[in-house]
């Protein structure tokens, strides 16, 4: 009898514990329904490659996001702490997934900047979406992150980007090759990672549709010496399209083409847009942002950023990061206002799409497309590298 009573009590105790555990999320949900107290410090993570071959990208993006936080957050009466989350391109998507889980579990995170690379976005966006965390990338351009490609949509409604995707970049680059360079034969070398494969595929399909002969090559993204690939480039090829996220590799390829007496020029995507590393005269590069030093309205902003980053030059990856931080902080401020000093992740997510910015850092104004989480009327720019290493706008 005693045993039976003991067993019953044990079952009862287990049931109570289980019931209270079941009830815990509800209690938590009640607490979070009110949202995060906006007078407290909000953590704004920026997921980007800080180390590895694309570390330059993260350094540039972080410097601009940091400047945005420093200058915009006080105007919006927010206390924001920017933190960097490292996703080295060499390690694939795993770090992005780990970071997403970490940020989901951090109450002070209301939205996220990045991830910067398409592969990292694809690996983590479902985690952010499940937690209703909006995330804005200033550089992930793969088409299927915002639009369905062949029935596949890798992105989620929580993912946004403030730069146009490869659905614009691919055709822009290919059409420039066809109409301005009059190419007959193009070698397309992908880097075996999502950004590169997507963009290479987009360019390949347009070129083929216009009767241009294409040859596909593929290199692991740990490759450092491209000699064997260069040997495979036919001597009558006009262009080698190489969408890499390591501008130094585009430079190496261009030099090794010359070394082997090949006449083809390298054409890089936005990932290789860095005039300090990719500077072989005659090469081409496309990018989602113009050179903002030519935009008069940005003069004061650039001067402020340069003061905060002495000795650094303005690249093309930084300004969209400033813009992304501006959008996120504006959305958080609006959610805080609507929630009377408290903001939930869901409220921030909903308010992102309503943000528009009059004096956009990339020129003109910024608005979201009504059809996808992409910017409205954005375009890609094509530059040719000059003999002094400067980038001249050609398309």
């Amino acid at each position: 009898m005693k045993k039976a009573i003991g067993l019953a009590l044990a079952i009862l105790a287990t049931a109570i514990v289980a019931a209270s555990a079941q009830g815990a999320p509800k209690a938590s949900a009640v607490a979070t329904a009110k949202g995060y107290n906006c007078s407290k410090t909000i953590t704004l993570p920026f997921v980007t490659p800080i180390t590895g071959g694309a570390g330059f990208l993260g350094a540039e993006q972080l410097s601009w996001a940091k400047y945005a936080v420093k200058t915009i957050a006080p105007q919006l009466h927010l206390k924001v702490k920017l933190v960097g989350g490292d996703t080295p391109v060499e390690q694939g998507p795993a770090p992005a997934q780990t970071l997403a889980q970490k940020y989901v579990g951090t109450a002070s995170v209301l939205a996220v900047l990045g991830p910067s690379t398409s592969g990292a976005v694809a690996a983590s966006t479902k985690t952010y979406y499940a937690a209703h965390i909006a995330h804005i990338s200033p550089s992930a351009t793969r088409t299927d992150l915002t639009k369905s490609v062949g029935g596949t949509l890798e992105g989620t409604p929580a993912f946004f980007r403030d730069v146009p995707g490869d659905y614009i970049q691919g055709p822009s680059d290919a059409n420039f090759m066809i109409n301005s360079l009059h190419v007959k034969k193009v070698v397309i070398l992908d880097f075996q990672e999502p950004y590169s494969l997507g963009l290479a595929g987009a360019v390949d399909s347009v070129l083929k549709a216009h009767g241009v002969s294409t040859i596909r090559l593929s290199a692991p993204n740990t490759t450092t010496d491209y000699s064997a690939y260069v040997t495979k480039v036919p001597s009558d090829a006009d262009i080698v399209f190489f969408p890499t996220q390591k501008p130094g590799d585009a430079q190496t390829f261009a030099q090794q083409l010359i070394e082997q007496g090949k006449k083809a020029h390298v054409f890089g995507g936005d990932g290789s847009n860095d005039s300090s590393q990719f500077k072989q005269p005659g090469s081409y590069v496309s990018n989602f942002a113009p050179d903002i030093t030519g935009i008069p309205a940005d003069a004061k902003l650039i001067a402020g950023w340069k003061k905060a980053n002495p000795g650094k030059s303005v690249g093309s990856f930084g300004p969209p990061s400033y813009g992304a931080a501006q959008i996120v902080m504006t959305a958080i401020a609006r959610a805080c206002h609507a929630g009377h000093g408290h903001a939930t992740r869901t409220a921030v997510l909903h308010s992102i799409k309503k943000v528009s910015i009059k004096n956009w850092i990339l020129g003109g104004s910024f608005k979201w497309s009504t059809k996808s989480n992409d910017p409205l009327n954005a375009k890609f720019y094509i530059f040719q590298i000059q003999s002094d290493g400067s980038y001249k706008l050609v398309g």
Binding site: P49, G52, D225, A228, D249, T252, Q255, G261, Q277
Partner: protein, 309 residues
């Protein structure tokens, strides 16, 4: 035929750098039976030292000394700094663990590897560094060279290959024809017996680290003469060097040289001739190496591990 010559030159260039890295692994393993996983990062430090010295000497655009002297000084400076680094690593990360179980120095080696790559990033940032030797005299180091059956073997590749082989010959001489080399061989064969014969083991080990690390420094410069470097380059370079050392027979100096060349040629020919070879070169090459290790556990020139029972 032209392509074959081109792939052969590519393989020789790659292989000679792999061989120099592999020699560092094999020297340390031969004497200490330690897999020095920090070796790849010593190589990386070497590339950065070379870059710094190159800039101090005016860079490729405005060199303050003739180009041959410039490359020699850059290489020697890198070797000197990495040799010193090797001594420091041995003294502080490995010597205290010399009598510990084998796993302890292995963890220490991995720790040193992360310490070096992260410290370098802290000091110099993640931006890749390019020696930019293409800028020298309108690319003459790339465009001038030997002409073989319609293929130009550029001066820069010749410099890389010749320098690597000269260093290997010097190493062979040091190990086989000097008293210190004899002490190294004796220590490698039986450390306790060598100590009983009056050999200063600590001195031999320090000398081994000096040699191995200096070779890593030289390999770093040979590598970075042609392609950009960054703080994470040591991982892949170290991995390739380690594999080359194992393929050649770890502990064997000629084996490391051969292993490096075999790996370089295998990569180059697979990329050149095997269908989809550029895409899957690592798959093909490493599958081949797995087979090799299955049939020859000790590597190409390694000694079989015979145990008396």
């Amino acid at each position: 035929m032209q392509n074959f010559i081109q792939y052969t030159v590519d393989g020789l260039t790659l292989g000679s750098v792999y061989a120099l890295i592999a020699l560092g692994y094999t020297l340390v393993y031969g004497v200490l039976k330690l897999l020095n996983f920090a070796h790849g990062d010593v190589f990386m430090v070497g590339t950065f030292v070379g870059y710094g010295v190159l800039q101090e000497l005016g860079g490729p655009m405005n060199p303050k000394v003739p180009i041959w002297l410039l490359i020699t000084l850059v290489t020697l400076a890198s070797m000197a700094v990495t040799a010193g680094l090797g001594v420091v690593i041995e003294r502080f990360a490995y010597r205290p663990l010399r009598d510990a179980p084998r796993i302890a120095p292995l963890i220490s080696a991995l720790g040193v590897s992360f310490f070096l790559s992260n410290s370098m990033q802290l000091l110099f940032g993640a931006t890749p560094r390019n020696y930019d030797l293409f800028e020298y005299h309108g690319g003459s180091l790339y465009l001038r060279g030997l002409h073989i059956a319609g293929v130009t073997v550029p001066l820069l590749r010749i410099i890389t290959i010749v320098a690597a082989f000269v260093l290997m010959v010097i190493l062979w001489f040091l190990v086989n024809k000097t008293r210190t080399g004899k002490a190294m061989r004796a220590t490698s064969y039986d450390r306790e017996a060598a100590a009983m014969m009056g050999i200063d083991i600590d001195r031999v080990i320090v000398f081994t680290f000096i040699l191995g690390s200096a070779l890593a420094g030289a390999a770093g410069v040979m590598f970075a003469l042609r392609v950009p470097t960054n703080v994470s380059i040591g991982f892949i370079a170290g991995l390739k060097g380690f594999i080359a050392a194992v393929v050649g027979g770890i502990g064997s100096i000629p084996g490391a040289m051969l292993g490096g060349l075999v790996l370089g040629f295998a990569e180059s020919y697979v990329q050149g001739y095997v269908p989809n070879g550029t895409q899957w070169s690592d798959l093909y090459v490493f599958s081949g190496l797995v087979l090799l290790m299955i049939f020859r556990h000790q590597g190409l020139l390694g000694r079989p591990d015979i145990r008396k029972v």
